[in-house]
């Protein structure tokens, strides 16, 4: 693997291979010494043009567990605020000898510009670009689902026949986009449930069923319900009347939680708006995988960095 820009580029075999490597990485987290020497001497730069805590910390932890050196770069307080272009920033990082660059950028497509421009020779990992994709989040979601469903025998398995309902702000969600491609590549059936104002145009081409009624979707007893965050910073138009109305119609409240089968998983990529898209009871229930998702995120990102940075030609 040279870059990880989109889950759309991954074949089923590649996706399963990444999840399998992540299983081995997860085993390391259970040891007393949670460190592997595989990426000793490599430099990973976290290039974050947008605020993030868990993704950046997760990548940092992953790189450090593999013994790579980590340089954190956030646009705030850097030369970017003086007007430096992406090209100059990338060339500066290249001159410092970065082996991999983890990019989060508010503009969709910024990571693929970096990967294709020739400004920098490092492997590029997309850590969220605009409203486009967030591949490692989708990989960790798939990993979490696979682990919960298959337990110790998860290695080598895909997600054939698993039903996943993704609820909320699909329009602005890169998590939803990455998940659609990855989960359907792995054989799962994905359903979107959202207010009609938050469903993107052109969704007809996606491998997904769209619905507008959360109660009807829950009545079909999905294996997984994934709640998306209502992104206050992107709510720049009247997508729904009030937060209370959104919570009543599309929030996973205690009543809807009770109607879900006990075996269904409740997922959320975080950070959660408790009381808006998800109730505290749902977030803290045994069905909730929120904290597992965070722990699995480190394993997935270790796997991705390992596959990107070890090896002479990057082929697995």
């Amino acid at each position: 693997m040279r870059h990880l820009l989109s889950t759309r580029d991954l074949s089923r075999a590649e996706a399963v291979a990444i999840l399998d490597v992540a299983e081995d990485m997860a085993d390391v987290a259970g040891r007393e010494i949670k460190k592997l020497p595989a990426l000793r001497g490599k430099t990973v730069v976290n290039l974050f043009f947008e605020d993030s805590t868990r993704t950046r910390i997760s990548f940092e932890a992953a790189a450090k567990r593999l013994s790579a050196d980590v340089i954190n770069f956030s646009a705030k307080g850097s030369s970017v605020s003086k007007g430096e272009s992406l090209k100059d920033t990338a060339q500066t990082l290249a001159a410092m000898g970065a082996d991999a660059v983890v990019v989060r950028h508010p503009a969709s497509g910024a990571p693929s510009v970096l990967a294709q421009s020739g400004w920098i020779d490092a492997g590029i990992v997309n850590a969220g670009d605009g409203t486009h994709e967030h591949p490692t989040q989708a990989l960790l979601d798939a990993f979490t689902i696979r682990r919960r469903l298959h337990g110790a025998s998860a290695r080598g398995r895909d997600l054939d026949g698993v039903t996943v309902t993704i609820v909320g702000d699909i329009l602005h969600s890169r998590v939803a986009r990455s998940n659609v491609w990855l989960l359907s590549t792995l054989g799962a059936h994905v359903t979107f449930v959202a207010p009609a104002t938050l469903v993107p145009i052109g969704i007809g081409d996606w491998p997904v069923t769209v619905g507008y009624d959360l109660d009807a979707a829950i009545a079909r007893q999905p294996d997984v319900v994934m709640m998306l965050r209502i992104q206050g910073e992107r709510m720049n138009a009247a997508f729904f009347p009030t937060a209370r109305e959104y919570a009543r119609q599309w929030g996973l409240d205690d009543e809807r939680l009770a109607k879900l089968p006990a075996s269904s998983l409740v997922m959320h990529p975080g950070p959660m708006n408790r009381g808006l898209e998800i109730s505290a009871k749902a977030a803290d229930s045994a069905q909730s995988t929120v904290l597992e998702q965070v722990a699995n995120g480190v394993s997935i990102r270790m796997a991705v960095l390992y596959l990107l940075l070890s090896g002479a030609n990057g082929e697995l």
Binding site: M1, A17, D20, V21, E23, D24, D27, R31, E32, I33, K35, L36, P37, A38, L66, R155, Y306, L307, S310, G311, A312, N313, G314, E315, L316
Partner: protein, 179 residues
Amino acid sequence: MTARLVLQSADITRALTRISHEILESNRGASDLVLLGIPTRGIVLARRLGEILDSIEPGSGTVGFLDVTMYRDDLAKNPTRAPSPTQIPAGGIDGKTVVLVDDVLYSGRTIRAALDALNDIGRPRAVRLAALVDRGHRELPIRADFVGKNLPTAASERINVRLLEVDGVDEVTIEGGDA
């Protein structure tokens, strides 16, 4: 390309039986013994050794496996290697005598990686090495404590260890070198 048969199924079984007795002898019994196979075929050999040990002294064959991929010194020079699982027996390895089991002992670099991997998992009382075939050409100061067969080879030759559980047949062949 000619392949010469060096060990047959019965030879392999005899070698493993002898190694089992040697392990018990050098360990003065079966207490605190952990066999760790190195993927892929080392795992199979460790399981077989465990069964033989169990038949000699019941309860002595504690078997696990140890992946060394992440500890290799040639990661950057070869295509990306997929790691495989590591499984340490429930009792851990602290204070135990660990016997590393591999199919072929060659440069010694895999064993160097295995020693580093062990270091991150615990502190065994002693580490021993068992190999089905020792073909020479060591690049590091490492030697085996228990050897199935010493096979002097040329560096251009290839040793193929095939085992029933992985390859459907039990044999060790030596290939090439005459070209």
